[in-house]
């Protein structure tokens, strides 16, 4: 149900105009910061800015209240022009307690705006995070513009009449904070109020209290004459939009692939951060005929997906690094069986359990080579939250057409990050269906490995098809008949065919695009979730007069057919990655180009500013 609204009236002329703002909401896990951020985002989207958001969950389930490990944050960047990332350092920090302040202050821009809930700065909370004195009272915050607001008490005051107990009432303080910030940035309240009404339809007193707190915050902003800003709406392509996270987009993309391939979707998965949400989301769409199984482990999950594929479903398994390790052997079997299957890997910080809630791009070489034997497969990488939709459909298209498992690489950053998404017109989605084989293909016989001349892909005949009964397995098999074969020449032939089949996909995928200066000497080559940061860094460098170009690889295996040509145009190729140079290794090996690696291994995305600096140093 799309809601069409007219942009609100232009805020008064006393508002200071800005072209872009980065706000971070930070508080205790129990403070509802994710929700606050999301509501602010919705209002911002309604208002018409371009935007991108990023949550920052605590690593623990629920660390003790008021401690640093328990801090949860949400960042949004919005602007009057198109933007590519949720922003580097915030220019505005909302800190609901001392822990949030301590955890995030170091990132706030000098001179930035700091909005704090002064009620939470009592001795107990200060002690918990080791503040000897109250930072609101000493002058440790003097480089910032501080608004210390007694949010809790004002909230309690505002909701007094509603009949909540104190704990419940206090919980509304996030709406107070949202009210304050909404006033400061001229965001409409109505979308939030509507949402509250709907959300608390069964508990109208909560809807009322939260609305009151929201309005009170807004009124406070106005009364206290906090500085007010204006960020004009951006020029945005017409269409209907929604916000989408990367994991949601993968789930929807898989649903779309199921519809477009006319194959029922089958997901075998085992929960793991940060991939579990795809399982959660797909489990909800049973009316699409989606079968989801929470398997006993990742090996079983992959095995089930493969079994489903054998029987004619779109078999998918979703996981993160440690789970990908466990799927290696089954992937090898899928390669030998030549069955379509999609393995989604939401990368996180490794090795081993590593940094489970943090992002990284360090599974690329594992995806490429992480199986014994020569076992090539296609790899598709999403590069932004919304692109995950495309990546899922594209992975399915390749898997089905070429009868091969495909690895889709995403990462924790884009999995949880969100951006506005112009909802794809369904009519434009490709038809990725293929016919099952239903008739003998070799006289009266059915040969399961009789390949298509062009795609080299084998026929797909599923159980239930009379007359095509056949057996396949992981032992080497004779090309054509598929019977077990230990023949030396056949093994070589099959190895070459398996490789050639994957290589040939390069003719069937989009060529590599690049954008930037025609006469640039330097190409920044990226892949995956660094897209926004690289784009922003390059944009900024070009504004500063540097000649530079950016290309982003979405197919890592095989590479787009023109990759060598594109790289060859430039004297220097710089490859920023959230790993220790994995794509750059592949580029070097494949094209003998002295690709320069920029590496960051901090569990955090690149900030576009730091990346700009790092690129500059290498130019």
């Amino acid at each position: 149900m799309s809601t069409q609204i007219a942009p609100p009236k232009q805020p008064g002329a006393d508002r200071k105009e800005l072209d872009q703002v980065v706000i971070r909401f930070a508080g205790d896990s129990g403070d509802g910061m994710q929700l606050t951020g999301e509501r602010f985002t919705s209002a911002t989207a309604f208002f018409g800015n371009d935007l991108a958001t990023q949550p920052d969950f605590p690593a623990e389930i629920r660390a003790p209240a008021g401690t640093i490990p328990g801090v949860s944050a949400f960042q949004i960047q919005f602007s009057d022009h198109d933007i590519l990332t949720p922003g580097d350092a915030p220019s505005v920090l909302v800190a609901m307690n001392p822990a949030a302040l301590k955890a995030h202050l170091k990132e706030l821009l000098v001179g930035g705006l700091l909005v704090v809930n002064s009620d939470a700065f009592d001795k107990r909370n200060l002690d918990k995070v080791g503040y000897d004195s109250n930072p609101l009272e000493d002058d440790s915050l003097k480089s910032y513009q501080v608004y210390d607001i007694a949010m809790t008490s004002m909230t309690l005051e505002a909701v007094k009449g509603v009949g909540l107990n104190k704990k419940e009432a206090g919980r509304c303080k996030n709406m107070f904070a949202l009210g304050v910030i909404s006033w400061m940035y001229g965001r409409p309240l109505k979308p939030t109020i509507d949402w509250l009404d709907k959300k608390f339809a069964r508990k109208p007193e909560l809807a009322e209290a939260n609305t009151k707190a929201l309005k009170a915050g807004h009124a406070f902003g106005e009364t206290a004459e906090l500085t007010a800003f204006e960020v004009k709406p951006a020029t945005i392509a017409p269409g209907t939009y929604r916000r989408i996270t990367g994991n949601q987009a993968i789930a929807y993309g898989l649903l779309a692939a199921s519809v477009q391939s006319k194959l029922p979707l089958f997901l075998g998965s085992y929960p793991i951060t940060p991939a579990s949400d795809i399982l959660h989301e797909l489990s909800r769409h049973k009316n699409f005929g989606v079968r989801t199984i929470q398997a006993e482990d990742e090996i079983a999950a992959a095995g089930m997906a493969l079994g489903a594929a054998f029987s004619g479903h779109l078999g998918v398994t979703t996981t993160s690094g440690p789970g990908l390790d466990l799927k290696s052997e089954t992937l090898g079997l899928a390669i030998a069986l030549e069955l379509p299957m999609i393995v989604v890997d939401i990368q996180r910080g490794g090795p081993s359990t590593g940094l489970p809630t943090k992002t990284e791009q360090s599974d690329l070489l594992h995806a490429m080579y992480g199986r014994h034997g020569e076992s090539p497969l296609p790899i598709v990488a999403s590069y932004s939250p919304a692109s995950c939709f495309w990546a899922a459909v594209e992975s399915a298209r390749i898997a089905i057409k070429y009868m091969t498992p495909v690895i889709l690489l995403s990462d924790g950053y884009i999995a949880n990050g969100a951006e506005p998404w112009r909802i794809t017109a369904l009519g434009k989605l490709p038809d990725i269906s293929r016919d099952f084989t239903t008739q003998p293909n070799m006289g009266d016989d059915f040969w399961p490995y009789l390949r298509d001349d062009v795609t080299l892909s084998r026929p797909w005949a599923i159980p239930g098809t009379p007359g095509l009964e056949h057996r396949i397995g992981g032992l080497e098999k004779a090309d054509g008949t598929g019977n077990i074969s230990y023949e030396p020449e056949n093994h070589e032939l099959m190895s070459e065919l398996r490789a050639a089949k994957i290589k040939a996909i390069e003719e069937d995928i989009d060529p590599l695009e690049w954008r930037g200066d025609e006469d640039a000497n330097v190409l920044v080559l990226g892949w995956g979730g660094t897209y926004g940061a690289i784009g922003a860094a390059c944009r900024s460098l070009r504004h500063a007069g540097k000649k530079i170009a950016h290309a982003h690889i979405r197919h890592l295996s095989p590479f787009p057919r023109n990759t060598e040509d594109v790289l060859g145009r430039f004297d220097k190729v710089i490859v920023p990655e959230l790993n220790m140079g994995q794509l750059s290794k592949l580029i070097r090996a494949e094209f003998l180009i002295d690709a320069q690696s920029i590496s960051k291994m901090q569990g955090q995305p690149f900030r576009s500013s730091e990346l700009e600096q790092m690129i500059l140093e290498r130019m």
């Binding site: 006319k262 079983a300 029987s311 004619g312 396949i472 397995g473």
Partner: protein
């Protein structure tokens, strides 16, 4: 928009059943592949029994799937002229779960070994049984690793000297029937490769059971573990085979002179029928909800060297995993209407820019 649920259950393009199901013969289930087991291997007898029973089931060949892992026994699917998948070591139950859940219209058989199914594949096996996935699982127990040329397995007796235990194995064996019952299995049986009548009976009953049917088949590996089941197949077999049958008192011996009773301390004992009297004998109840009795029966023999129960230990009705899945799909489609992609994408907060 197409209906993916219907698609799934019927299989596109495969809705017409093949002709002449009723007229199938054993030959129809033989593939053209040369059989590569050692001469004398017990696997031949099981293959033959399965091929004999298949035509009786009245299921078209194309609706039958055989899934296996790796091992001598796991070569089985190659010899069946049905659909088949020779998987990887230990994962047959997982792969089969995917198939059975995706395609409730198929009859899915799993062929596994004591290594494949109980060593590397133990977890998938117990989870498939717990879920009660609609699978017919044949565990060929030869108490040894055949394909890798003779190491001990999780069902080998303690002290067994093998390539990997030159001084004798130190491990206490699993009792496959016990572990299956401990894992909530709804159908658990045991038989022997050379049992020309009993084995086919077991197969038929497994085929008829809705849910997971697990059969342990004692299978002689004449190369690496010859005679492991000699107590049940050799001269003394009539003294050692305890056929258990639902509703029947449990007795055995060449002249049915021995029997089983339950004591007031909750224990099963082997007795002389003459001594205790026929009416005191325990009547086997395979359909009892509580698997306690079945479990106790599985403990009567400490390895297949003493009197050992053969037959169906347990056979109860319970929710089948795939059925539940289908009902949820149907219910969702009925309540919410079939999935509409455009509508789905429009859920949540949307806004329009003109």
């Amino acid at each position: 928009m197409s209906d993916p649920i219907a698609m799934a259950t019927q299989g596109r393009g495969v809705t017409e059943a093949s002709d002449g199901v009723g007229t199938l013969t054993r030959k129809d289930f033989e593939s053209d592949q040369e059989i590569r087991w050692c001469p004398g291997c017990g696997d031949y007898a099981v293959l033959s029994a399965v091929q004999n029973v298949m035509p009786e089931l009245g299921i078209p060949r194309e609706k039958i799937v055989f899934i296996s892992g790796i091992g001598c026994s796991s070569r089985f699917p190659y010899y069946m002229n049905t659909y088949g998948l020779h998987g990887i070591h230990g994962r047959a139950a997982a792969i089969a779960t995917g198939i059975a859940t995706a395609r409730p219209d198929l009859q899915v058989w799993v062929v596994t070994g004591d290594g494949d199914g109980l060593s590397i594949g133990g977890n998938h096996l117990i989870h498939a049984l717990r879920r009660n996935v609609n699978l017919k699982i044949l565990l060929f127990n030869n108490q040894v690793y055949g394909l890798t040329k003779g190491q001990y397995s999780p069902t080998s007796e303690m002290g067994k000297v093998t390539k990997s235990t030159p001084f004798g194995s130190l491990e206490r064996p699993f009792n496959p029937v016990s572990i299956a019952l401990g894992a909530e299995a709804t159908f658990v049986g045991r038989t022997i490769d050379v049992e020309r009548k009993h084995l086919p009976q077991m197969l038929r009953q497994a085929a008829a059971h809705r849910g997971s049917a697990f059969i342990e088949i004692y299978q002689n590996c004449n190369i690496f573990n010859d005679g492991a089941f000699i107590a049940l197949t050799g001269k003394e077999k009539s003294q050692n085979r305890i056929y258990i049958e639902h509703g029947q008192p449990i007795r055995f011996g060449p002249n049915n002179e021995r029997g089983v009773v339950a004591t007031s301390t909750g224990q099963l004992e082997i007795v002389d029928v003459a001594e205790v009297g026929e009416d005191k004998l325990l009547v086997h109840d395979a359909h009892r909800g509580d698997p306690g009795l079945a479990f106790s029966l599985s403990r009567l023999a400490d390895g297949p060297t003493t009197p050992t129960p053969l037959g169906i230990f347990r056979q109860v009705e319970a929710p089948v995993y795939g059925d539940g899945m289908e009902s949820q799909l149907r219910a969702a489609a009925e309540q919410q209407g079939p999935g509409d992609l455009a509508e789905l994408l429009m859920t949540g907060d949307t806004w329009t820019v003109d």
